[in-house]
Point group: C2
């Protein structure tokens, strides 16, 4: 099991092989066994395999090829719609149209999503997370007809791997893990933790290809630039308001 | 692997057996292999084993016994502090003090957290998620000395199980999974999906113990009441502002 988790790679190229519906349901059942808040199961999963709906989703994910190429696209949603309807039918006053409730359901959706991924990998499938989900939640809501109190938080494409890439690097554990309390980083700590990454041939080429001086500039100027982050922040906050999770 | 995931139970009572530091580090290394946004690894994990710090954390988790009783408490945090410091040291302009960046790092922290849990369970350990983390993030920040751009999103207690409880029920898959697009629920759908839960002896007793008429009322009036959800919403939004993720 640890071996499988340690061998994880993101799979972006899939064969044409479809996923047996029984297998997919089995994996989804397993995902639903994961921990969740108060056993309310306030999340939903939209399983999309239809070409025309995948094509409607594609622009929301900046037309990344996985959406159309993968046999299955799963959109994991924060969802207080079903629970709220149940409360209303049971003489109970649901109070879940607020930000804390969004956090609880988003957390549960993500725990279920990662459980699905690990289950899928154990069945020989490959997965890819799409971070574009919170950028263009509005367009995804429209394409998947998500009602009030439902917001997509992550998307996973699933299929059988056509190309298995090299594993990507990770920072030393000391960059991530703090003992007892948080120990903030000195400039020397930062240099130490990023040394191996910055010295690698792979990233030196990556900096050159992007015409930047430092690896950090590739992130700040190109991949995750302030202007875009601020634009998509406003857009997602607006979605939370429109879907009923924020006043 | 599916067997393990399908057998998942939340463990709230632990033996006095400690977790070998080498095993804990191995599980944390495995958690760090999980998918993350742009391989930025913008999350952190605070490993707390010290009795006095666990006692400081305890009120933030409403003094649930797991915090003090479990040998290890892990606080998974959204963290753009380290990445921002790295950018600043590399002539790059970090633009991660915004809500979209919070969502990205929170998602990554949760994917790592669930990967840790599954790794831990495969090593014979038991885990419990504490949803109180986003209620009392302010108090956790103070106890763990979390700096600007660091916000706790979930807490996991870990140890060897003393009491292994019965598995909890789950709704039928049709309540969670939607095919192609979202199919909203009719009153009959709601009745169908909640039938088994509402007919179970366990929940009938639970309703009676709580002096309520319906199961939904136990959630709306006692466990997750509107007044509390709204109070903790304001509190968490304030934390996001104070830690730099919201204007």
């Amino acid at each position: 099991m640890l071996d499988q988790l340690n061998q994880h790679r993101t799979i972006r190229k899939y064969t044409v092989q479809t996923i047996a519906p029984e297998l997919l349901d089995q994996l989804l059942e397993t995902a639903c066994r994961a921990s969740n808040t108060g056993n309310m199961q306030t999340y939903s999963v939209i399983v999309t395999t239809d070409e025309s709906i995948k094509k409607q989703l594609s622009p929301a994910h900046f037309n990344q090829s996985m959406i159309v190429d993968a046999p299955v696209v799963l959109t994991f949603c924060a969802d207080f719609n079903r629970f709220t309807k149940w409360c209303e039918q049971r003489q109970a006053d649901p109070g879940y149209d607020n930000f804390q409730s969004f956090m609880a359901t988003a957390i549960d959706a993500l725990i279920a999503a990662q459980t699905f991924c690990i289950a899928a990998e154990s069945a020989g499938l490959g997965i890819c997370y799409l971070g574009t989900t919170t950028y263009n939640a509005r367009e995804i809501i429209d394409a998947l007809q998500l009602p009030h109190l439902v917001v997509p938080v992550t998307t996973i494409t699933v299929g059988y791997a056509d190309i298995i890439p090299e594993q990507t690097d990770r920072l030393p554990l000391g960059a991530i893990v703090h003992r007892e309390t948080y120990h903030d980083f000195t400039p020397t700590d930062i240099n130490t933790f990023y040394l191996e990454k910055e010295n690698s041939r792979f990233y030196k080429d990556f900096i050159a290809e992007n015409n930047k001086e430092t690896l950090a500039q590739v992130f700040t100027d190109i991949r995750y630039a302030r202007k875009n982050n601020e634009f998509f922040s406003e857009k997602f906050l607006q979605v939370l308001k429109e879907q009923g999770f924020l006043k």
